[in-house]
């Protein structure tokens, strides 16, 4: 059996939404170089809807595939819906990830939440901090 599903390999080989949005309304970055993965999500938001999304990722195959899939899942969606995106949904959409790679899907979920939070902060929009766990909550890296 291959390490990754066909879906993961497809998103790794042909990642969707790679790049930068220069005038992004919200930017979220999670992970760190010591752990070996960093994800950065750029959001363009119109009427509380994600009109465009781009990502940059430093990381392994599943990190790139998870970011690609996550951006596909939230593109064109209202913010309220994007915030409900779970790492489980990303993993399922990729037809699964190896156990030691689930961390990558967690990063994707957190990167999106961080970008939405950034948008809320910049625009003075109130939110419940509990909805935005930061990287420290994840024990995957051990740093």
């Amino acid at each position: 059996m291959a390490l990754y599903s066909e879906k993961v390999m497809d998103h790794f080989r042909n990642p969707r939404n790679v790049g930068v949005i220069e005038d992004a309304d919200g930017v979220g970055e999670v992970g760190n170089p010591v752990c070996g993965d960093i994800m950065k999500i750029y959001l363009k938001i119109d009427n509380e809807t994600i009109s465009d999304v781009k990502f940059e990722t430093f990381g392994c195959g599943s990190a790139i595939a998870s970011s690609s899939m996550a951006t596909e899942l939230i593109k064109g969606k209202p913010l309220s819906e994007a915030l409900k995106l779970t790492n489980k949904a990303v993993t399922e959409a990729l037809d699964g990830l190896p156990a030691h790679k689930l961390h990558c899907s967690v990063l994707a979920e957190e990167a999106i939440k961080a970008a939405v939070k950034d948008y809320y902060d910049k625009n003075g929009i109130a939110y419940d901090p509990k909805d935005f766990p930061d990287c420290d909550h994840c024990e995957s890296c051990g740093v």
């Binding site: 170089p33 752990c35 940059e56 392994c60 195959g61 995957s140």
Partner: protein, 397 residues
């Protein structure tokens, strides 16, 4: 184009090695311990193989013990020295921080049994010095075990000089020569080693076969109890086909060291020069004191697993010391041992050539690695930060 660049992981068996093994799978299938003719023919082949292996490393046939591979040989060497040391109240062992896990994990097990382990630091050039060993030896040191050549970065250690020190201080010296055997000349007398491990599949022999050289007088502990095979030091019916094949492969590989040693070295240097053109990338370990086929690089701003997957799509088989490829959270202990920071160690690439690698293949590999590195850097937020000056580069250029 398909280019296999992972010969340090394993090699394709040579035709000589395959042909050598075949008669012992079918016609001469006998058990060497049996007294009838087909058994005795197998026994003769086994002993001829032992003599051949001994000749290649300038040992005596009685000093060669066949094992299931390099890991078993390492385990047996270390545990044997520890058992003898323990009897004399000597429970200190010296090794290095960048040994293979077959050595490090065995030492860890001994640590739990009350042994004290000194792991020498490795310099940034990937070499330990004889002085470090001399300074670490104590009254209660029962073993020094230092690899001949490192499996990841290919650097060759000053085994002869370390052996001289150990001999003068009357401390047993073992070297894990799994990466070196069949690739560089080995003479156990000249090297002053007491024990040496090797593995057949690293020099175009079969997997599942290895050998431990133990100088006459070294008392081995049997790890597998049972019959009287291998002079009572390794029970179990001998893997005759594998052993015969291993001897043929070793003889062939050793005979080509002069000629082949040259070809991979010039190709290796071509590869090092080509990859050296990648900005903010650096060779791991000393450029000269390394195995003829080993190139190990670290690149800033990318991660090794994605690099390997993309190279695989281009037909290139390589390896990396990134955490993602090791299945753990930390990158390779070898790269950390030579002082590479985590973020750079994640971006490592090991390419190991053999004598059949061609210049055309090398040029294809260089072009492919350059393409993939620049593609991955283009989508890397870490690389963007390095370029924008938001983070500091690790390498000077």
């Amino acid at each position: 184009m398909n280019v296999y660049c992972d010969n340090a992981a394993t090699t394709r068996m040579s035709k000589t090695a395959v042909e050598a093994m075949l008669p012992f799978l079918y016609d001469n299938f006998g058990n060497p311990s049996s007294l009838y003719s087909i058994g005795q023919r197998a026994k003769e082949a086994l002993e001829a193989a032992r003599a051949d292996v001994a000749t290649v490393i300038n040992a005596k046939p009685g000093e060669i013990y066949f094992t299931s591979g390099g890991s078993e040989a390492d385990n047996q060497a270390i545990l044997s020295a520890a058992a003898q040391g323990e009897k004399k109240g000597k429970k200190h062992i010296i090794s290095t921080a960048f040994e293979h896990h077959a050595v490090l994990h065995t030492l860890n097990a001994l640590k739990k049994r009350g042994f004290e382990i000194t792991l020498l630091d490795v310099h940034s050039d990937g070499v330990v010095t004889p002085e470090q060993v001399a300074n670490a030896i104590r009254e209660d040191t029962c073993l020094v075990t230092i690899m001949y050549a490192n499996n990841e970065i290919g650097t060759i250690q000053p085994i002869k000089q370390i052996g001289e020190i150990c001999r003068s201080k009357k401390v047993l010296f073992h070297t894990d020569a799994v990466q070196a055997a069949g690739h560089v000349p080995i003479d156990v007398e000249d090297l002053n080693v007491d024990m040496l491990s090797m593995s057949a599949h690293k020099f175009h022999g079969p997997k599942g076969t290895g050998a431990l050289y133990a100088r006459k007088g070294v008392i081995l502990t049997s790890l597998i109890n049972g019959g009287a095979q291998e002079n009572r030091k390794r029970a179990g019916t001998e893997n005759v086909a594998g052993i015969v094949s291993m001897a043929a492969a070793l003889k062939e590989a050793a005979g080509q060291i002069g000629e082949n040693g040259k070809k991979p070295i010039s190709l290796r240097n071509r590869l090092i020069a080509g990859l050296g053109e990648i900005p903010y990338g650096e060779l791991n370990g000393d450029a000269d004191r390394r195995l003829p086929g080993n190139v190990s690089f670290c690149c800033e701003g990318i991660e090794g697993e994605s690099l390997l997957l993309m190279l695989d799509d281009k037909g290139i088989s390589a390896s990396s010391g990134s955490a993602c490829t090791s299945g753990s959270l930390d990158p390779s202990h070898v790269l950390l041992a030579i002082g590479r920071p985590h973020e750079v160690a994640h971006g490592s690439l090991r390419l190991t050539l053999d004598a059949d690698t061609t210049e055309e293949e090398i040029d294809y590999v260089i072009a492919s690695v350059k393409d993939v590195v620049s593609y991955l850097r283009n989508m890397s937020p870490l690389w963007r930060d390095l370029v924008n000056g938001k983070r500091q580069h690790v390498f000077a250029k």
